[in-house]
Amino acid sequence: MRKALIASISALALGLPSGAMAQDDPVRIGILVALEGAFAEGGADGVRNVELAIEQAGGSAGGREIETVVAPTDTTPDTTVRQARKLIEQDEVDIIIGPLSGSEGIAMRDFAKTIPDHTVINGISGALETTWVDPAENFFRFNLDGAQWGAGLGTYVVEEKGWDRVATVAADYSFGYTNFLGFAVDFCRAGGTIVERFWVPLGSSDFGGVIAAMPTDIDAIYLGVGGTDAINFLNQYAQAGADTNLIGGTIMADQTVLTSRGRAKEALIGTPTSGPLAEDNPDPAWQDYVAAYRDAFPEDERFPSPSLFGVGYYVATLAAIQALNEVDGDLSDGQAAFQEALATMPLETPLGTVTLNENRQATGSVFINEVVEDGEGGLKNEFKARQDDVNQTLGMTVEAFTAMGLPSRTTPDCNALGGNEG
């Protein structure tokens, strides 16, 4: 009420008849993105991809021009909320696209509840809780969460590789648990056995003791660590006489590990991983998107192909544009029609068709990749398989998924899912 009052008073003050102008005003989109800290490069790619999507739409949607405002964060939740508040109150944006990282996403879910007449479309943050625990009505997520990214990999290693006894080493924090849960649910349902679970603190540099403690009668080790931790593990694993197969979590074989210098990463060759994209996905929609990305920016101002972060922001912008087109740019009545369109429309993306469930969380495709040599002395991911229609509850009923509990060191219980533990 107060906002409406302020809005009409300011419109009067400008001497403009507010009703008639509403449809011709530009739509203002705030891009909430990490441009400082560990994900700064990825965040910059997010901004590029928002620009790309808007440019492809001709700079307008639903008959209204689109204006963007960038709000940089440093991946901490309090900065994110402060920047989001600035976007709403100072820059007067209609829609926020973002944020980028998991804890920011949870903070934005809570902030979204305080601005019900605006819409937040998630950038690429992947915490399960954001859309699972007490979700906000106006928070929409068109990317999969950390648990969904692990889906499909378990079946793949059991059925294609014949590895059904694994030990797991994963990082001892929220994303480590969540990403592991996706793998474990699938793996246990396929009849696999988790022989032992190891949880290592984030930032561990010496894994000698853990490597030695690996059980001897296993087919593979699941690695849910990333970045420098992953490189240290691989290095020490090779020095200890690498003698079994590896399975990677979503961040195990990303660009930070594959572009590291030295030969530690070679232990990764042949390792299957799962995640939200495959760089060499043969789907024409993906190929067209990659070509457009490469054409839109000079080579030294972009990645060789769009990053995970970039794709997330691109898809979020596509969603905003498509929903604006469907409602002819009508953002009145607390954006009710716009939010209804977002929630119900199927969205064609470079990653396949995405639909939202009742929590406004995406159901979409997960890609299985394998690390191979690229023939130039480096490593790359090769597309192997995809699993479509992965939903938030990983194919379980809501009751069963709730009963399993939130991701933790001991959740999921493999025995309860048809596999074996220990």
Partner: protein, 337 residues
């Protein structure tokens, strides 16, 4: 040794007992009851050796730090940067020449030279001004970190050990006995054993130089009373230069070691600076045997913690430091002044 035993009979007995239990744990085959409490012997041995080799790395970094600290009262907060710089230079040398061993003398010389420049051009100008030196070294570490980020970028580097050190070696320690009665010997990464041996050799050599040579005598005298030493006609600036160069070179070589069995990336500099500070606080400032004991304690607590209590492993290091500060603030082997 005998003096210590005479002065502290109870402590000596406890230390001897602990050493005997440890030796028994390492060499005797474990009974099933013991395995059910502590887990497989293989895991214990690996955690133990992992801790000792990690301690060896910490010792290499911290011994130079403690010497510089003890002699010049100079908290060189850029010590971690020297470690990381040494690692990057070692990577370049071993990549270009294909020789891992060659990297050590080259890096020792280069980083030692940088140490001389730092001491001669920077620290000598602000002798005795501890706060100013501390601020300047923090500034230097920031500048060096940015320069290294500019040259080597943000990705991780690992230095590859030569083939003859790659993979595991079999140690003459029984890790397990099969049901058939056949003994399985412990297999352990060769490169880590080599690093352990090198650290022991360097440590013993440092002890010999400090305790058996004229230079060592000067350094020890300088640690005890700098003013009196210079009053007696010794050109103490040369001693400072030599010690600073040696400490810096050692940190640089430690960088190669760290890059070989861990990895190098921005941020490792502060991690190792922190580790060195903890080691020096635990061991006692200016004491080489203290640095060895401190490094061993920290390395073992990290590795044992990671295997037996992963949740709390992060705090053990700091618990040890807090306990030492509470009960023996001068450090285990430090001298109260």
């Amino acid at each position: 040794m005998q003096g210590f035993a005479r002065r502290h009979p109870v402590w000596s007995l406890l230390i001897a007992l602990a050493a005997a239990v440890l030796a028994w744990l390492i060499f005797a085959p474990w009974s099933e009851g013991l395995e059910s409490v502590l887990g497989a012997k293989r895991i214990f041995l690996n955690a133990l050796f992992g801790g000792i080799t990690l301690g060896a790395l910490y010792f290499l970094v911290a011994s130079g730090f403690t010497l510089i600290f003890g002699l010049m009262r100079n908290v060189n907060l850029a010590h971690g940067s020297l470690y990381l710089l040494g690692g990057y230079l070692g990577f370049e040398v071993s990549e270009r020449t294909g020789s891992w061993l060659l990297a050590f003398p080259v890096v020792f010389l280069l980083v030692g030279l940088l140490g001389i420049v730092l001491q001669h051009q920077v620290f000598r100008r602000m002798e005795g001004e501890e706060l100013r030196q501390t601020m300047v070294t923090i500034g230097l570490s920031v500048v060096l970190a940015d320069i290294m980020l500019w040259i080597w970028g943000g990705q991780s580097y690992t230095i590859f050990a030569p083939d003859w050190l790659f993979g595991p070696v079999t140690l003459p320690i029984i890790s397990d006995v099969r049901d058939s009665g056949e003994a399985i010997y412990l297999r352990y990464p060769a490169v880590r054993m080599a690093i352990l041996a090198a650290a022991i050799v360097i440590g013993v050599a440092m002890w010999l130089v400090l305790n058996r040579t004229r230079l060592g005598m000067l350094v020890r005298a300088g640690v005890d009373d700098r003013e009196m030493l210079s009053a007696s006609g010794v050109r103490i600036q040369y001693v400072f230069l030599a010690v600073f160069a040696f400490g810096a070179g050692l940190a640089g070589m430690a960088g190669i070691v760290g890059g070989t069995f861990q990895s190098l990336s921005p941020g490792e500099d502060t991690r190792f600076l922190l580790a060195s500070l903890v080691v020096v606080i635990v061991g006692g400032m200016g004491s080489i045997p203290g640095a060895a004991i401190g490094a061993l304690a920290i390395g073992l607590s990290e590795q044992m913690g990671l295997v037996y209590a992963p949740t709390y492993s992060v705090v053990f290091t700091f618990l040890i430091m807090a306990a030492v500060l509470a009960f023996r603030p001068q450090g285990l082997l430090g001298e109260a002044r």
